[in-house]
């Protein structure tokens, strides 16, 4: 579904990303890991089409991104960013309903749009917030409403920049369980994550970035090796096993 070929991105002389390649199929959840400044958000901006790579290309359903109009692209992929400021005091429902916008380009509003919005708010556990003003919500509540918005968009590819940010442990797990469930329904998911163990538990594959380069790409088992993590994060790690059989790593301070 999504294919990144030798993606590089430079700003002036600074290389933010160099030669990152991977493919992602429908039904797959890919975790993007790496320390601060490794190029995770830059990668997501290239994948979303917001920025064009300095070299290399991104293909979505076999077609290069620049060949899509913004409106076409919005029907295929949605993006959860980390922005949290709103120009005007919209209610949570109105914010979630904005996800329907790409569908309303060529046709009038339909009750189905409101059903999809209500369904998305339900999936993101945000239906109780519907009538609250978005700016009055807590960080975690805003995250859930934003998640509802990108779900209401009903894309085939979901790009999530730290979707677990600001969330308590229960909601963190629930967001990633939701990603798994959507993947089973045929969506593809790319999620930038900071928590290595959440990534190990819920991602089919993980991509480890360091200083703009892909250090490793594979199953959590293949990628999360203590020596590699120590090289990337500058901190020794111990590896053990989660009850599910997935790897479980711990930084040793």
């Amino acid at each position: 579904m999504l294919e990144a070929r030798a993606l590089s991105f430079r700003v002036g002389q600074r290389r933010l990303l160099g030669g990152v390649s991977f493919g992602l199929g429908a039904g797959e959840v890919l975790g993007v890991l790496g320390p601060n400044g490794a190029g995770k958000s830059t990668l997501l901006r290239l994948l979303s089409g917001e920025e064009r790579p300095s070299s290399g290309e991104v293909r979505l359903l076999g077609k290069p991104l620049p060949a899509y109009a913004a409106a076409e692209l919005a029907l295929l992929r949605s993006v959860l960013t980390q922005r949290r400021d709103l120009g005007f005091p919209f209610t949570a429902y109105e914010v979630a309903f904005l996800g329907r916008l790409p569908h309303l380009e060529r046709r009038p509003e339909h009750p189905r749009d409101h059903q999809a919005t209500a369904h998305a708010l339900g999936l993101a556990q945000a239906q109780a917030l519907s009538h609250r003003k978005y700016p009055t919500l807590s960080g975690g509540e805003q995250s859930r409403v934003d998640l509802a918005r990108v779900l209401a968009q009903e894309p085939r590819l979901l790009l999530l920049d730290e979707p677990t940010n600001h969330l308590d442990p229960r909601h963190q797990v629930e967001v990633l369980q939701l990603c798994r469930r959507l993947a089973r329904e045929g969506w593809a998911v790319v999620a930038v994550l900071h928590d290595l163990n959440l990534a190990a538990l819920f991602c089919d594959r993980v991509l480890l970035l360091h200083q703009g380069a892909a250090v490793a790409l594979g199953t959590p088992h293949e990628v999360l090796e203590p020596e590699r993590l120590e090289r990337v994060y500058g901190l020794p790690f111990a590896l053990t096993r989660h009850p599910s059989g997935r790897p479980w790593v711990m930084p040793l301070g």
Binding site: A70, A74, F88, E94, L101, H114, S130
Partner: protein
Amino acid sequence: MQSALRLPKAFSRYRLALLGLGVALPLVVLLAAGSGAYAVAPQDIPRVLWERENPTYAVLTSVRFPRVLLAVVAGALLALSGAVMQGLFRNPLADPGLIGVSAGAALGAAAFIVALPGAGALEVYALPLMAFAGGLLATLAVWALASSGGQVQVLTLLLAGVALNALAGALIGLLVSRATDEQLRSLTFWTLGGYGGATWGLLAAIAPTALLSLWGLLRLSRPLNALVLGESEAFHLGVSLEPFKRKAVALAALAVGTAVAAAGSVGFIGLVAPHLFRLLAGPDHRYLLPGSVLLGAILSVLADLIARTAAAPAELPVGVVTSLLGAPFFIALLLRFKREVAR
């Protein structure tokens, strides 16, 4: 399910506000048309218009209605552009004047009045045209200043507008210092605004640009809603940003240019009307844009009514009335939004 059931309530608040304003506008128009030195009861106006014989008919059709209609059109255009500019700049304190169009139009008019003395015969048509051209040129200049490599930064656009407003103000000041007394009176009309020059001919002249810009601006509600989240998010939601910004600025310049050319620069309506609608109903642009059209028209007609009757038989410039009432409102807003603005 409960949220789905409660939903229509939130949306009906918008509909209710639009309905109320839609009913209020014709009433206000009748009230204003009936008031003045020669008073007609508002409820008698439809009958007078129907019978066509009463001497009041002439007063209404040749004087009152053109004036009230000009107030409606100018108020609607200013308020709608104000709502669109506030959405585009993602700032509730933005004003249609920010993109330089009002200042440019006033400069165009001032240049015509002072630099071409004795052009009185041409004044009726050429003056609004000069104002209109001045407004569009100023907007083009602001746009050129703010664009780099095919992209326009909204913050730079705003700063360029501020700079151009200052420059136009200084140039108008220069012209004023060279103006005769009679020219000064003309200039005052332009800088303060007024609907006294209304004729059916003027209304017909502004109709094409007024209707085009109204129609175009009203269609921008969905991308404006997306922009509430920020520019990246609007792109992720399928908005092609650069074409959208170009369209919004061009149409707003056309709308404000039209209003200023016909009625001078009437202040505060473009700022206040969208705000009042947000307080009445909410910020959703699908309702805010038509709501601003109606509210702007209502405020403009009422301001003109006060301008005509408060100091009768003398007449105040409409801009003075809107500023007298608008400035305290703006200050109240500033206090209310101080925290957000100071951020």
